[in-house]
Each structure stands twice: as structure tokens, then as C-alpha cells.
């Protein structure tokens, strides 16, 4: 009844239409609350946690132990004693660093309403096109979709999906991210959007505002998600076009996303949590 060519053309048109329709619909609600996503996260995250833990352990040994041992080889007679002392020093140093980080997290927690949830980063986004991380706290720990995530340096991102024990966090450097922010000195308002490469863009800053490199950008609290006054980053570049009412401002986030290890999920009132 139908030729093979006709069937192929119809099939091709149907496939294109389905692809575009599906992506259009899922773009409106990019993070489904239920579905295979949670299964995959639950499947992969424990292994990620194990590998990250092991890597950090060996990296710690490499950076603080073997490297120092190789320097100390000149004095062979003292090697055993020295290595023991350094191993102990390494342990103490790691403990002191962890203590310092956790103390800062606790200090930050005092500024946040409600009990903050400290979480460890267990994995990063497999795609270079998006910027997200997996953390080892989930629904069972009180993490909910739409909650902001911070660390002592500043704003980290937003919870976009949560399973029982893990959660996915969209970083502020993700192209889909948006944080309402102001420049601390002159209160010029804008929207911080992800630009990747470790930088963000502060959109919709009016030309009339005098913006200077190095000025501090903080969350405005106007988006109803991020608490007001959290540091986001510092102004890195400013570009004013000949025409137009806005200026282009690039900011360098305070958070070092390459070395992010611990974060705090900030509880917010239920009414503003995304459905």
C-alpha cells in the first residue's frame, strides 16, 4: 500500500516532531520529580561517593605524605622517624582543615533560618555543557527540590532533584541557572546567569550604574530562593555598548567549583519550594 520510501519519510518526520515536542515540554519542567532519573542517581551515586572518598584519601597521602617523604630522602637515617611524624602531622593537619571548614559551615549555619544540612560532594556533571553536582544528602535528610545550596565562600546553586539519600544541585555557573543579585556598593540589581569556564554573567544591570571591577555581588533575596546578602562573586569585567540600556558585567564566583568538597543545603519555607 505504501512504498518503503514513503514509510521512511513519514517515520523521519515523526521522529523529528517527537524529539522537538519532548524537548520543548521537558524544557518547561526540566527536572521531573519522579521517574528513571532518581533510579540512575541512586545507582551511580554510591559508587561516585566511594571513588571520590578513595581519591581524596590517596590525594591527601600524595600531597602531604609521599611528596614530603621524597624531599626528606636526603636524610636517610631519620626517614623512619620522620615519616611517622609526618604521617601523624598529616592526620592532624587534615583534621584541623576539616575542623576549620566545618566551623565555618557552622558559623554560616547560624546565619540561616532553620537547621542547615551539611553535605559532601560525591560527583560532578558528566556533560561539559551543564554544571551540576551530586551531594550525599537527600530526602531522608530533609533536602527538598528548590532549596538553595551555599558554602562559606558564597552561593553554590540550587537543588534540582532529590532521591532518598542523594541530591542533584545545579551550580550557579550552569547556563540554566539564575540568581537575583545586587552589587553591594551601589545596589545595582541584576540576574546572575551561568556562563561556564568558572565565570557568571550579571544581566540587566542598567547603564546608569557605575560598576567597578572588584565590587562585591550578593544575593538580593528577591527571587524568594536564596537568602539575602549571601556573597556570589566579584565583578571581573564590564562592557558598555554604544547603545542599549544595560551593561554587560562578568563576575567571578567566590566559590571554587573545581575544589568544592562540602556544601550546606539551606532549608526554606515549604511555600517557596518548587513543586
Amino acid at each position: 500500500m505504501f512504498s518503503k520510501k514513503m514509510v521512511m519519510i513519514v517515520g523521519l518526520i515523526a521522529l523529528v516532531t517527537i524529539s522537538i515536542l519532548t524537548l520543548s515540554l521537558s524544557s518547561r519542567e526540566p527536572y521531573p520529580a519522579y521517574g528513571p532519573g532518581r533510579i540512575a542517581i541512586s545507582l551511580v551515586a554510591p559508587f561516585q561517593k566511594m571513588i571520590v572518598g578513595t581519591t581524596r584519601y590517596f590525594r591527601g597521602i600524595w600531597e602531604h605524605y609521599f611528596f614530603l617523604i621524597s624531599v626528606a630522602e636526603e636524610n636517610r637515617t631519620l626517614r623512619d622517624e620522620l615519616s611517622q611524624a609526618r604521617a601523624l602531622a598529616h592526620e592532624q593537619r587534615e583534621a584541623a582543615l576539616a575542623n576549620e571548614r566545618l566551623r565555618r559551615l557552622l558559623d554560616l549555619g547560624k546565619k540561616i533560618s532553620g537547621p542547615p544540612i551539611a553535605a559532601q560532594v560525591v560527583g560532578k556533571d558528566p556533560s561539559p555543557w551543564f554544571q551540576s553536582i551530586l551531594v550525599d544528602k537527600g530526602l531522608a535528610d530533609g533536602v527538598r527540590k528548590g532549596q538553595p545550596v551555599v558554602n562559606p565562600e558564597g552561593v553554590v546553586g540550587l537543588v534540582t532533584e532529590a532521591t532518598a539519600r542523594y541530591a542533584k544541585v545545579m551550580l550557579i555557573t550552569d547556563p540554566n541557572s539564575a540568581v537575583d543579585a545586587v552589587i553591594q556598593e551601589n545596589r545595582a540589581r541584576g540576574i546572575v546567569k551561568g556562563g561556564t569556564s568558572g565565570y557568571c554573567v550579571l544581566n540587566f544591570v542598567l547603564r546608569k550604574h557605575d560598576v567597578v571591577v572588584g565590587q562585591v555581588v550578593v544575593s538580593s533575596g528577591m527571587d524568594g530562593v536564596f537568602p539575602k546578602g549571601l556573597p556570589v562573586g566579584a565583578v571581573a569585567t564590564i562592557e558598555k555598548q554604544e547603545a542599549g540600556i544595560f551593561q554587560e558585567v562578568t563576575i567571578r564566583p567566590y566559590v571554587d567549583f573545581e575544589r568544592l568538597e562540602e556544601v550546606i543545603v539551606v532549608p526554606i519555607p515549604e511555600r517557596v519550594v518548587m513543586p
Binding site: L15, G37, A40, I41, D125, P126, P128, F130, S132, G194
Partner: protein, 176 residues
């Protein structure tokens, strides 16, 4: 068995990509390691084996990455269908062609991602380093694509040999 093997491999690759590779210098813009597998499946394996694996790859990536659900799934299906169609006209034994096919896959994925950012993403910005990302991925794919394809091909041959050795034994045990 082949399907199970590729699912296991994909999970391992995704875990490596999300834990170890981000910490390595120069590897932060490494291309999607599932692309060579999809290309291999489209060029050398049957639909019965290829389709479930491609669907699994898409769902895993969509679940773990920050993009919308269905983006990687659609990309992988299109790549699989496209390469399968192209294989009718190409000499798939050529190493140069295989290297180029991985690069083609990388560029195709980059175009889909960019297209998503431009046309479908709600108020998303195109990443400022898009060109750099694509160039780095092309270089990486040209350098490592053929090697990865050869490793997949060799592993697949080992599996096929292993399976051929096991199944006759099972058939004999059943008296067939």
C-alpha cells in the same frame, strides 16, 4: 550478555567521568565517552543489541547531567540512526573514517546542545566557552577516538569468542 556488558561499561565510564576525570588537568573538556560506543554499535552491531543500549545510555546521562530529561536520549537516538544510515554508504573498515565518525558524533552532540540552548532552553545563556569546548573535544576525539573504537572492537570480539565457547557447551549439556 552483550547488552549487559555495555550497560556495565557505560556505568563505569559515567562514574569515571563524574569523579576522576574532572580532577585531571586538560581533561575537563573531554568529550562524551559514550559516543564511540554508540558509533560502534550503529556500525557493527544489530538493532536488537543497539537500541536497548542506546536508550539506557540516554536515560543514564539525562538523569545525571543538569540538562532537561530527553536531551541526551534524543541526541543518542539521532546519532545512532544517522550513523546506521550512513554506514550503508561508507567503508566502515577504514581507520580514518572511524576516527572521523567519532569526531562527527562529537560535533553532532555539540550542535544539539547548542541548538537546545538557543532554541529550547528557557532563558539559558550559550556558554561563553562553547567554541573552546567544541575545539577541545574535536582534538580529543581525533586523538583518542580510533583507539577507543579499536578497544571496543577487540573487547567485543573477546565477548563473542567467549560466548561461542560457552553456548556450545550448554547446548551439549542439554543433549542438543
Amino acid at each position: 550478555m552483550t547488552i549487559f556488558f555495555y550497560m556495565l561499561v557505560s556505568l563505569c565510564l559515567v562514574i569515571i567521568k563524574t569523579t576522576l576525570i574532572p580532577g585531571l588537568p586538560l581533561f575537563d573538556k573531554f568529550y562524551d565517552l559514550l559516543i564511540p560506543i554508540i558509533i560502534y554499535l550503529s556500525l557493527f552491531r544489530s538493532l536488537r543489541e543497539g537500541i536497548p543500549i542506546v536508550l539506557f545510555f540516554g536515560l543514564i546521562m539525562d538523569s545525571l547531567c543538569g540538562g532537561p530529561m530527553g536531551l541526551y536520549l534524543a541526541t543518542y537516538i539521532w546519532l545512532y540512526v544517522g550513523m546506521r544510515w550512513l554506514s550503508q554508504f561508507l567503508h566502515t573498515g577504514s581507520l580514518i573514517l572511524l576516527a572521523l565518525s567519532v569526531t562527527f558524533g562529537v560535533v553532532f552532540e555539540a550542535l544539539v546542545m547548542s541548538g537546545y540552548m538557543v532554541f529550547l532552553a528557557p532563558a539559558a545563556l550559550i556558554p561563553t566557552d562553547t567554541v573552546k569546548t567544541i575545539l577541545m573535544q574535536i582534538i580529543w576525539s581525533l586523538a583518542t577516538g580510533p583507539v577507543i573504537l579499536l578497544i571496543i572492537s577487540w573487547t567485543q570480539k573477546q565477548i563473542d569468542t567467549w560466548r561461542a565457547r560457552i553456548f556450545p557447551d550448554l547446548l551439549n549439556m542439554n543433549g542438543e
